[in-house]
């Protein structure tokens, strides 16, 4: 009877339909068969307190971050759009480059008016510096362009004045910079010289008749390049230049020069051109600058380490030009710290999106007529994403350490800061690109839509492996620094101290011939394995370099020739240093579910490091042991699977800063959501 009734109803519907069929009118046939979005919040539980975990990851100023997130979400300037019933904020990357630049600038003005930058250059102390880091990280979660535009103005221009300048520079420029009465940029890189700053070709001479410096761009390769802010907005710049006094080159120095007047006209003897459209960061107005014998007053030399007297004498307390240059650039590590930390937050965005999607998207049934399988329930999908989650947790703890190291800096800690920030900046930014690519692929086609962020972020953050020090060069500096430590310890017959190398003073760890699951999960074994690799590679590297030198080659040439070992060594150092910070973070916790989950993540991080091909290449692991490591990885991945949602929720990134594909992606794509 029922069936007959239903049949008639369908037929009636069919006959009554005058227009081409609209599925909305036959709900009994359409809705049941279709996929429903099932929110992971309703099916996945939290075995630990995600607020506590977030506090551990963010480390500081959590409420301040949230205030700033809210500030961005509640303003139309941050381009809020509703998708699937939720609000998302993200720039409109479909705007032209010029429009994106103007929007970036308007957003900065809005944050300025709301007092976000209060004290960024005029307040001193740890608390103020850490708060500044927190705000910078939160803004960077909205958009890379706004972060970079702020970074150039506050950390590069402002930082140069703070660190290279002296009191009269501070008094004259810092407050006005903080209030954006002037807009600063930072002209260091040239077309012909990037990482090799000491080779730049801009030349400055001193005219004692007028008491002015004369800055000049002598050739095309000396044009300043990639100068953020130069193309549209900046009024002032720091210029890096060779200083030539009476025919003697005194090396690279920094000067202040005005490049635009208050209404935005380019100053006389300055030529500016645009760097053009880029693969990302189109909200930043990167420009090129030529100086045609630009004259600046004598006090515009940033004179913290060297000065020129009114009558044109060069004065410096540091006689050795090498040391002078090193002392000069040391304070600029803030940029590397920021980049390293920012890379970790971008990885968090990518993983939060990809994992949330994997908890709602199904593909293929194992048996006919069974429901399709959730992506994250495939061991292969777990294997792709969960280790990256462990890596991101490890980087978070290491990044917090790096920030503290920077904020508590002393003249004695300069070397450590330089080595650790170089290593972490390179490794985190490389990891970030790898993580974003995997996350993009894990979102399938949806990952390709700009509004879903994960794919777009790759283009936006690719630059991180290049600016503020090319990653490869930074890693070479790490191995050179380790080399110097080794040679010094040998020469003076002293124990290793600093850079985490104290393990070198102990007997060499031994890896058991048969690795059991229990051993593989033991943090002591994990640390031993990572130390063993670092220790052995350092010895090999030193040996290799000395063999080259024995053939009469210079040390510099020997380093160039030993590059393979250098690369493996700097990796080994970084992995071990990061792991150490993970272990330390875990040790601060009382026993409980939070610590248990972190223990699993820590093991997973160690195991993927030990899975690295170097362990087989240099014979630290037998083939059997390497297989045991791989087996264990799959086990830990499946044990972490139930915590996946909690682990990405603990990142503390507001829903509005993720993307539609991370939530109800069916509703976000429904016909009713189409503008018609």
């Amino acid at each position: 009877m029922d069936r007959a009734f239903q049949r008639t109803k369908i037929l009636t519907n069919h006959l009554l339909q005058s227009s081409p069929s609209s599925p909305a009118q036959i709900p009994s046939l359409s809705s049941n068969a279709c996929l429903d979005y099932s929110p992971p919040e309703l099916s996945e539980g939290y075995a630990f307190d995600i607020k506590e975990m977030r506090q551990l990851l963010d480390g500081h100023h959590v409420a301040d971050r949230d205030w700033l997130f809210g500030m961005m979400m509640q303003s139309k300037l941050f381009n809020p759009r509703v998708r699937g019933g939720k609000v998302f904020v993200s720039p409109d990357y479909n705007q032209s480059m010029e429009q994106q630049r103007e929007m970036t600038w308007k957003r900065i003005v809005y944050l300025l008016e709301r007092g976000v930058f209060k004290g960024w250059l005029t307040e001193k102390g740890e608390e103020a510096e850490m708060r500044k880091f927190a705000y910078f990280e939160a803004v960077g979660l909205f958009d890379h362009s706004i972060a970079i535009k702020l970074g150039v103005h506050f950390f590069l221009w402002g930082g140069a004045i703070q660190f290279f300048g002296t009191k009269h520079h501070h008094d004259k420029w810092l407050r006005d910079t903080e209030n954006y009465l002037i807009k600063g940029c930072f002209a260091m890189t040239e077309l012909g010289h990037g990482s090799n700053v000491r080779g730049i070709e801009t030349v400055t001479t001193y005219d004692s008749n007028t008491g002015e410096f004369v800055i000049n761009t002598p050739c095309e390769s000396a044009q300043k390049y990639w100068i953020g802010g130069a193309a549209n907005h900046a009024t002032h710049t720091i210029v890096f230049s060779q200083l030539n006094i009476n025919g003697t080159n005194q090396g690279v120095h920094a000067f202040i020069a005005q490049i635009r007047d208050a209404v935005g006209n380019v100053c006389p003897n300055i030529r500016i051109a645009d760097c053009g459209h880029k693969i990302g960061l189109n909200g930043v107005d990167n420009g090129r600058i030529w100086f045609d014998n630009v004259r600046v007053p004598r006090e515009n030399l940033l004179n913290s380490v060297a000065d020129v007297s009114a009558d044109g004498k060069y004065l410096s307390s540091i006689k050795d030009p090498d040391q002078r240059f090193a002392a000069f650039l040391a304070p600029l590590t803030a940029g590397r710290v920021n980049i390293a930390v920012s890379a970790v937050y971008q990885s968090k965005v990518g993983l939060a999106i990809a994992i949330r999607y994997a908890l709602t998207r199904r593909a293929f049934s194992v048996k006919p007529n069974e429901p399709e399988v959730l992506l994250l329930d495939y061991p292969s999908h777990q294997r792709r994403l969960v280790p990256l989650l462990a890596k991101t947790y490890a980087m978070s703890f290491a990044a917090n350490y790096l920030k503290m190291l920077y904020v508590k800096r002393t003249p004695q800690s300069n070397k450590t800061i330089h080595v650790v920030s170089s290593s972490f900046k390179a490794v985190f930014t490389w990891n970030n690109m790898q993580i974003l690519q995997e996350c993009r692929e894990a979102c399938g086609g949806q990952g390709l839509k700009t509004e879903n962020r994960v794919g777009h972020l790759k283009g936006e953050h690719d630059v991180q492996s290049t600016f503020e020090g090319d990653n490869n060069i930074l890693m070479q500096q790490v191995s050179k620094a380790l080399f110097a430590e080794y040679v010094a310890a040998q020469k003076k017959n002293k124990a290793f101290k600093g850079l985490g190398l104290e393990h070198m003073n102990k007997p060499c760890p031994v890896i058991p011939s048969q690795l059991t699951s229990a051993t593989l999960r033991c943090s002591q074994f994990q640390m031993d394995a990572l130390c063993l690799r670092e220790r052995d590679l350092l010895k090999c590297f030193v040996l290799d370099v000395s063999q080259h030198q024995a053939k009469g080659e210079s040390k510099e040439h020997a380093f160039i020739m030993s590059y393979q070992l250098a690369e493996d060594l700097s990796r080994a150092f970084s992995d071990r240093a990061i792991f150490q910070k993970f272990v330390e973070a875990e040790a601060t916790l009382a026993a409980g579910s939070l610590k248990d989950v972190l223990g699993m993540l820590r093991s997973l991080y160690a195991l993927i490091c030990i899975e690295d091909v170097a362990f087989l290449r240099y014979g630290y692991l037998s083939v059997d042991n390497a297989a045991a490591v791989r087996r264990e990885i799959t086990k830990v991945c499946s044990e972490l699977r139930p915590h996946a949602l909690a682990l990405v929720s603990s990142f503390g990134i507001p829903d509005a800063f993720l993307s539609p594909v991370a939530f109800n992606w069916i509703d976000a794509n429904s016909w009713s959501s189409v503008q018609h």
């Binding site: 409420a63 949230d66 303003s75 007092g115 829903d655 509703d667």
Partner: protein, 384 residues
């Protein structure tokens, strides 16, 4: 005897079954329909039953008399706690917040007819639902900070989602909004003149559908576009955004005072006075609550608010709630003595304590009812 008590309590919520619609009327007009524990329990029971009942497609909630609902029956809660049992108070809020969560994620549309006072718990019983119909008689407010409490019932979720920083303004000052303002800011979804309510109700009773699009189109037929009054606070959004976006309560007040430097403005000075009269502790935990709620789902917001309200009931950090109830509801001298008495004495670590777990035995976080059994509508999924 027992049965007569229970039937009397049942009369606090009147039920009319009208084809596929259920009309629930809050029926304590003398108390402006303040929600008693019994009413909340009854509502919870009815909403749960209706969700299971395929014959029910729609729930209409309204109030008898001149109020929709003036809030939770706080006076009764305080009486309970005075008997030295803060857990009785906690039990009240546990039930109430569970009801709020159920309404926020309800699988069938709830239409609330807000023809009168809507305050505190009354907002919690309506704003989470899909349709909120305001009238020319609507008066909305979240007055908790004057009482030593904070905007609870999931207000940190819905206030924080109002345009700009209007939610901070409404939540901290307890400012009263009329129907037009409720519609403009989104607390109400429709405005229907009270004269047309009977017709609207009749139309809703025959709609026989749970489809929000269909119900919306029915309500639209009775809807009017009210205009904001000349002096409406909603016309002051620019000042509100500038001042109430500040990070701390102290900074909000100094931002308001800065506005006065240029030009005398009665509304701004009244706002400052209101803030200075409210409990300093309440202001600080309310601001923090709204800021956290803005980044949380409705469930997480309620779990957090439940922690907060338990701290308030227990009175270990501050007893302002009891003092507020004494001064406003019991003695009515309107002169509460807050402790700490000044904003600067309410330190961050004091505020932090309200957001931490209660460290007493047998206390548990709010357990939200399972919602995976029912197919939730899209608007409910988006709130998770």
């Amino acid at each position: 005897m027992a049965s007569s008590v229970s039937s009397q309590q049942d009369h606090q919520v009147l039920v009319e079954a009208n084809s596929s619609a259920r009309i629930l009327s809050l029926n304590r007009p003398k108390q402006l329909n303040a929600l008693s524990f019994q009413m909340i329990s009854r509502l919870l029971e009815l909403f749960l039953a209706y969700e299971e009942d395929p014959n029910v497609k729609l729930v209409i909630l309204k109030g008898k008399g001149r109020a929709f609902c003036a809030g939770g029956d706080v006076a009764a809660v305080v009486r309970d706690i005075r008997g030295d049992d803060w857990r009785a108070g906690a039990k009240f809020f546990l039930k109430e917040f569970t009801l709020n969560y159920l309404m926020a994620t309800y699988s069938k549309p709830q239409v609330s007819i807000l023809n009168g006072i809507v305050m505190g718990g009354g907002a919690g019983a309506s704003v989470h639902g899909r349709f909120r119909v305001a009238t020319e008689n609507s008066v909305f407010a979240m007055p908790e900070t004057a009482l030593g409490l904070f905007p609870d019932v999931g207000a940190s979720y819905f206030l924080s989602r109002l345009p700009g920083f209007f939610g901070e303004y409404v939540g901290l000052t307890g400012s009263r909004l009329d129907g037009a303002e409720m519609l403009a800011c989104g607390l109400a979804t429709h405005f229907v003149p009270s004269a047309k309510l009977a017709m609207l109700e009749a139309a809703l009773c025959i709609v026989d559908s749970s489809d929000p699009v269909i119900i919306s189109s029915i309500v639209d037929q009775y809807c009017e576009q009210p205009s904001l009054k000349e002096q409406s606070v909603y016309k002051r959004l620019d000042v509100i955004d500038r001042c109430f976006s500040q990070k701390t309560v102290e900074e909000i007040i100094s931002a308001l005072e800065r506005e006065l430097v240029h030009k005398m403005d009665v509304w701004i000075s009244t706002t400052i006075q209101t803030l200075k009269k409210a409990s300093p502790t309440s202001l600080k935990i309310s601001l923090r609550s709204i800021r956290e709620g803005r980044l949380q789902g409705v469930g997480q917001s309620l779990v957090r608010e439940y922690r907060m309200v338990c701290h308030v009931m227990r009175g270990e950090v501050s007893k302002d709630f009891f003092e507020g109830c004494r001064a406003i509801l019991l003695d009515k001298d309107k002169n509460p003595k807050w402790e700490p008495s000044k904003l600067e004495l309410v330190t961050d670590s004091r505020v932090d304590r309200y957001f931490s777990k209660m460290n007493t035995e047998e206390w548990e976080d709010l357990k939200l009812p399972t919602r995976s059994k029912h197919k939730l509508p899209l608007y409910a999924i988006a709130k998770l």
